[in-house]
Amino acid sequence: MSGNGRSRSLGASLAASPSDQPAMCFDQATLAYDDRVVWSELSITVPRGEFLAVLGPNGSGKTSLLRALLGLAPLASGSLEVLGGPPRRGNPAIGYIPQHAGFDRDVPLRGRDLVGLGVDGHRWGFGRLSGEGRTRVEAALEAVAAGPYANEPIGRLSGGEQQRLRIAQALVGNPQLLLCDEPLASLDMRYQQEITELIGGWARDRRGTVVFVTHDVNPVLGYADRVVFVVNGRWAAGPTDEVLTSEKMSGLYDAPVEVLRVRGRIVVVGEASGTGFDIDEPHHFPEPVGAH
């Protein structure tokens, strides 16, 4: 199942010197839930400071990749190292930004409280945020320019504002690695650009590593150093221009697929459907088990 990717392991060529361990290193890693293999023999090494975009249709195991990095989904075989050690739950060097889900309008929680939970929410006890913690919250709010609405009930904020607070919540712990699970989903174009720039800017300025799950590669084209595309248990990884090609995509999907570059955007089109569709609507891809 994993034939496409096996020979393309980037590990050997890009491994950094021993003093500078990579941010993460999947080696022949296979993830399975019960008997269902999500992806197999995945091998990618990401040096520190790089921006990796994780692409693929819904249900292809993009989120599972993040869960493996968070220590929440153990591998069936192979190995994974994160920031120089095995993945473990609650690693403070990892920040996490979820999909925008939308808080209930009346939930008694302000923007700054959400960010505050990023400081000490995981610790047992009752205590209020320390003075140092409050300073860090202020700094994080300022970094994402969320100050003006930090005291508003979070359920009353727009999707873009909530995602800015999510970024502050993830960055307040001063992480080295930032995992983003579809942070742009259900945001309009303007907010998509703002959120991507905040995350990409952090990676650039702080030499932080970003793993960015998205079903549309276009918002991150200017930031991604490389991409990994996962579909049907297979994968391909490498620089964007090498992975998002017609041959590679056709091979991954086991069906004719064309990758077009139009006005600086990348559009992936499956031939069999007759109508145009792009990577935003992956469920329209033809089923690989076809009868000709």
Binding site: P108, L109, H122, G125, P148
Partner: protein
């Protein structure tokens, strides 16, 4: 009426009752914030009703009704936790366990054949709790407060933001189970004041009122405890000098607080709306 109260206050049993009332109110105020946020009112009802069965069963074999209540609600919490922690399953599991538990309660009450007892458990009467049980109640409430204090922060995280809480290493599933057990203890305590059937007045209304008043979590918790204190202590004091049961006063005071918060909150400017939206 005031004279009567001043006359009663020096009595030890009145003071014990007030101490128990204060501790139970703190428990109720803290817990109800999470009951509201986690949509657990049905579970609260089940814990209380099967607590009734435990209470009736313990009386039948000559043991403390307070311990019986605690046992009944803890066993229920165990079943709910073991059979269904996922939201979708939870309602069904709660209903299934509650129905059977209450059926047993009918049997116990019939065997004991004193229906006034059922009335007391169902509608509450802290004024009839024995001295020994009052001390037990104080100890239980103090322990529950300590337990809530220890898990308050991760419980808040897991309640308002479960996905990120899990990513940050909060043991979300363990927290759910621990909270269910603490909730069972809180139910057993609050039932002593307001009874099984009126349990929601202490475990929902304070939290629901607080949500209307402020979006600041710390203030909301304080407001919730405040409402529970006002209703419980007010109810106990009024019941001491009149012939009406405690639970009537508690429910009425709590309801008035809720109405006032709903009607008054817009004037206070909670939810000013978002200027940039």
């Amino acid at each position: 009426m005031i004279d009567q109260l001043l006359h009663l206050l020096p009595y030890a049993f009145v003071q014990d009752m007030l101490v128990a009332g204060v501790l139970v109110s703190i428990v109720a105020g803290l817990v109800s914030r999470f009951v509201v946020a986690r949509n657990m009112s049905f579970a609260v009802h089940a814990l209380a009703e099967v607590g009734f069965t435990g209470s009736a069963g313990f009386i039948l074999i000559g043991l403390s009704p307070v311990l019986g209540l605690l046992t009944g609600s803890l066993v229920t919490a165990f079943f709910i936790g073991a059979l269904g922690l996922r939201i979708r399953e939870r309602d069904a599991v709660v209903g299934v366990v509650m129905a059977f538990g209450l059926g047993l309660g009918v049997l116990f009450i019939t065997l004991y054949a004193r229906y006034s007892l059922a009335f007391t458990i169902l509608f509450g009467a802290i004024t009839t709790v024995s001295q020994g049980d009052l001390m037990l109640l104080v100890a239980m409430a103090a322990l529950t407060i300590v337990g809530l204090g220890v898990m308050y922060r991760p419980l808040t995280f897991a309640t308002v933001d479960p996905v990120v809480a899990e990513a940050r290493g909060v043991p979300v599933r363990l927290i759910s189970i621990l909270f269910l057990l603490l909730l069972a203890a809180a139910v057993a305590e609050a039932v002593q004041v307001v009874g099984v059937l009126l349990i929601l007045t202490l475990l929902i209304t304070p939290g629901a009122t607080a949500e209307r008043l402020t979006a600041q979590p710390g203030l909301a918790t304080a407001a919730s405890v405040g409402v529970a204190l006002l209703a419980t202590l007010g109810g106990i004091l009024l019941a001491l000098v009149t012939a009406v049961p405690v639970s009537f006063y508690v429910t009425t005071i709590a309801f008035v607080c809720y109405l006032a918060a709903r009607l008054g909150a817009p004037a206070l400017g909670r939810f000013r709306g978002n200027p940039t939206a």
